[in-house]
């Protein structure tokens, strides 16, 4: 960890050892839960397949397709999307220095929705549009839309110097793009159904190629994020202090927000607009552990991944063989968690 080793030996060593232990326990627990959920998602599905161990180890050809081509990529993809959202949320909460920040603050959700709408409308309107829309796919359209929205937000706030102006322009962009989306939907209400299913979130379209995309983006996001995490630590001391330590605040914010928008765009592209994971995962880590940002940006993705995996499993199992949209499950769970926090706070106050 980042505390100087010499100092670790002095001071209240037992407490610090406890702290390192708690983090380790937490990380191990996350990994264990993830493995359990992955196994669970192999066994639980919407089709009536026997759930014995022997079947998993040597399935027939057909069940093999179900297992390895449908259930496994879906579970892994859900984990990766959740991890991306958890990472983005952790960074957003650090950059905005607000424990309730979430990765959609920059308007990514509205941007993705607009991208999907434009793509669906274009496919409907002309053959050329159809060709372009098919090539891009819902995922590509959502990614582009999300990325575009972030760019718009950042340029509207005239650079990233002011946190407050970023938040404001994020809200403005979100409203603006939502309004445009609504107008387009009014003009072509028959794409409403497809839009809705995208908006509620769904892990049902995740394939191994999606997993590849999500995995790549995850690698490209988490490494620079952990590298820059010390800057987030410095930011907690105040902007003045961070600047005086030699940090370039605009450069730091720009890089971090770039990572947030990339991670969020990829996640939204593959699973639609899934709320609360980006908010709850880092929040949960901070509530149960005391961490610096490097540890947070490692623990939050693990937590977010497990969360979304669990939500995916629940969405497939609760009303089987029908499916709940995974966004609805995360909303319920996330909402309950926030209510619990409020209750606990009012109890302690």
């Amino acid at each position: 960890m980042s505390a100087p080793r010499a100092l670790l030996q002095l001071g209240e060593a037992p407490q610090d050892v406890t702290r390192a232990n708690r983090l380790t326990v937490w990380l191990v627990a996350c990994v264990a839960i993830t493995l359990l959920l992955t196994f669970g998602s192999l066994v639980i599905g919407t089709s009536s397949i026997e759930t014995s161990l022997g079947w998993i180890l040597s399935p027939d050809a057909q069940s093999s397709v179900v297992l390895w081509q449908i259930r496994l990529p879906r579970s892994v993809g859900a984990w990766l999307a959740g991890a991306l959202l958890g990472l983005a949320g952790g960074i957003a909460q650090g950059v905005f220095r607000n424990p309730l920040a979430d990765p959609y603050l920059l308007g990514t959700a509205s941007g993705a929705a607009l991208g999907v709408t434009i793509s669906l409308v274009a496919a409907d309107v002309s053959v050329g549009g159809l060709a372009w829309a098919t090539k891009l796919g819902i995922t590509g359209a959502a990614c582009l839309g999300a990325g575009g929205a972030t760019l718009l937000t950042i340029s509207l706030s005239r650079g990233v110097l002011q946190t407050r102006s970023l938040l404001l322009s994020g809200v403005v962009v979100a409203f603006l793009l939502s309004a445009i989306t609504q107008l387009m939907l009014l003009a072509k209400p028959d794409i409403w159904r497809s839009m809705q299913s995208f908006l509620f979130g769904s892990t049902g379209f995740i394939s191994w190629s999606s997993v590849g995309l999500l995995g790549t983006v995850f690698g490209v996001s988490i490494i620079p994020a952990v590298f820059l995490s010390r800057g987030l630590d410095a930011l907690t001391l105040g902007e003045d202090t961070a600047q005086s330590l030699g940090l370039s605040l605009p450069a730091l914010r720009l890089s971090l927000l770039g990572i947030v928008s990339l991670a969020t765009a990829a996640a939204v592209g593959e699973v639609g607009v899934v709320g609360f994971v980006g908010l709850v995962a880092p929040h949960l880590v901070r509530e149960t552990l005391s961490v610096n940002h490097r540890q947070l940006l490692i623990a939050a993705p693990l937590c977010g991944g497990a969360l979304l995996q669990a939500a995916d499993l629940a969405s497939r199992w609760l009303i089987r063989p029908a499916e709940l949209p995974v966004g609805a499950v995360t909303a319920c769970v996330g909402g309950s968690y926030l209510v619990y926090l409020l209750w606990r706070r009012s109890r302690n106050a």
Binding site: V66, Q69, L120, T134, K188, R193, S207
Partner: protein, 304 residues
């Protein structure tokens, strides 16, 4: 176009044996058929079949109806949860709804083809998993004929498809002519409501086309789009003779400000239908003439 096989069979009882054998060979599994089927579906994708599809999954009720109308009901291995006609498909395994197709179920059934609507996203996933899918547009009158031809190709039943189309055309024409004969003057003006927002169905929508063939005048012109969301004032201003409702629940029009002045509301000239009839009206499929019949029955009752 070749003469329908059915007509041929009827014409010569003496040839029944030969014809029966021909039909049997056409319907039986042509495992050795060397002719590959290549079709271009409505998402501009080219799909190849080594032989006509024997195991079919349909993810849209109208497509299910077409498959059965072509006499290939036995080939269906799964349908979506909304397919309910003919009654024998109700006992088939369900493969999900419009937006949540059960990929696992479909893959397990190892179908030769999955028929779905062009707007269903699952097509891409199915292709990835090696399940051939054919995306079909199913919104207008013209789409009916086209989807029948497409499905006929996939099933290896081109003659049946042509015969079905001809039959559909004939019956539609018959209903249309009868209906127009009943019209006095310009025909009743109609407002079709599909949602209480209110969303209307214009003359450019499927039900709009049906009503047009029945000689009714739609107060919502096609330039407004297929399902425009109207300003309620518009309906009041155009004062339709008949209101046709395809919502599940019949709204109380008198609650809406100004609507109690509309002729159709005052004189209670409202057409609504029980679910089975409603589905028939809404699906651009082989029962379109029956749907038109139901609409016409109501129009005759309700029109001034």
């Amino acid at each position: 176009m070749t003469a329908p096989l059915a007509a041929t069979a009827r014409r010569g009882a003496a040839h029944t044996g030969i014809v029966a054998a021909l039909i049997a060979s056409m319907l039986a599994s042509p495992c050795g058929a060397a002719r590959a089927i290549v079709i271009r579906d409505d998402s501009a994708r080219e799909v190849r079949f080594a032989h006509p599809a024997e195991r079919v999954v349909s993810l849209l009720p109208s497509l299910t109806e077409i498959v059965c109308a072509l006499g290939a009901c036995a080939r269906l291995v799964a349908v979506d949860r909304y397919s309910d006609w003919p009654t024998q498909v109700r006992s088939l395994p369900k493969a999900g709804g419009l937006d949540d197709a059960q990929v696992e179920e479909i893959v397990r059934l190892k179908p030769d083809v999955v028929l779905l609507s062009n707007s269903q996203r699952i097509a891409g996933r199915l292709q990835e998993l090696g399940v051939p899918s054919v995306a079909i547009d199913t919104q207008t009158f013209a789409h009916i004929g086209h989807s029948v031809v497409l499905i006929g190709q996939v099933l290896g039943l081109p003659e049946q498809a042509a015969a079905l189309n001809e039959q559909i055309d004939r019956s539609v024409r018959a209903v249309s002519e009868t209906a127009r004969a009943h019209r006095h003057g310009a025909g009743p003006s109609v407002y079709v409501e599909v949602d209480r927002a209110p969303y209307a169905a214009s003359a450019g929508s499927f039900i709009g086309e049906m009503l047009a063939r029945l000689g009714a005048r739609n107060i919502v012109t096609p330039d407004l789009g297929a399902f425009p969301r109207l300003n309620p004032e518009y309906v009041v201003r155009h004062d339709p003779d008949v209101i046709v409702v395809t919502e599940e629940e019949l709204p109380d029009f008198t609650e809406r400000p100004g609507w109690d002045q509309i002729r159709a509301v005052k004189e209670q000239r409202v057409c609504s239908f029980p679910p089975e009839v409603r589905y028939m009206i809404e699906r651009p499929g082989p029962r379109v003439a029956d749907g038109m019949q139901a609409l016409e029955a109501c129009l005759e009752r309700a029109a001034p």
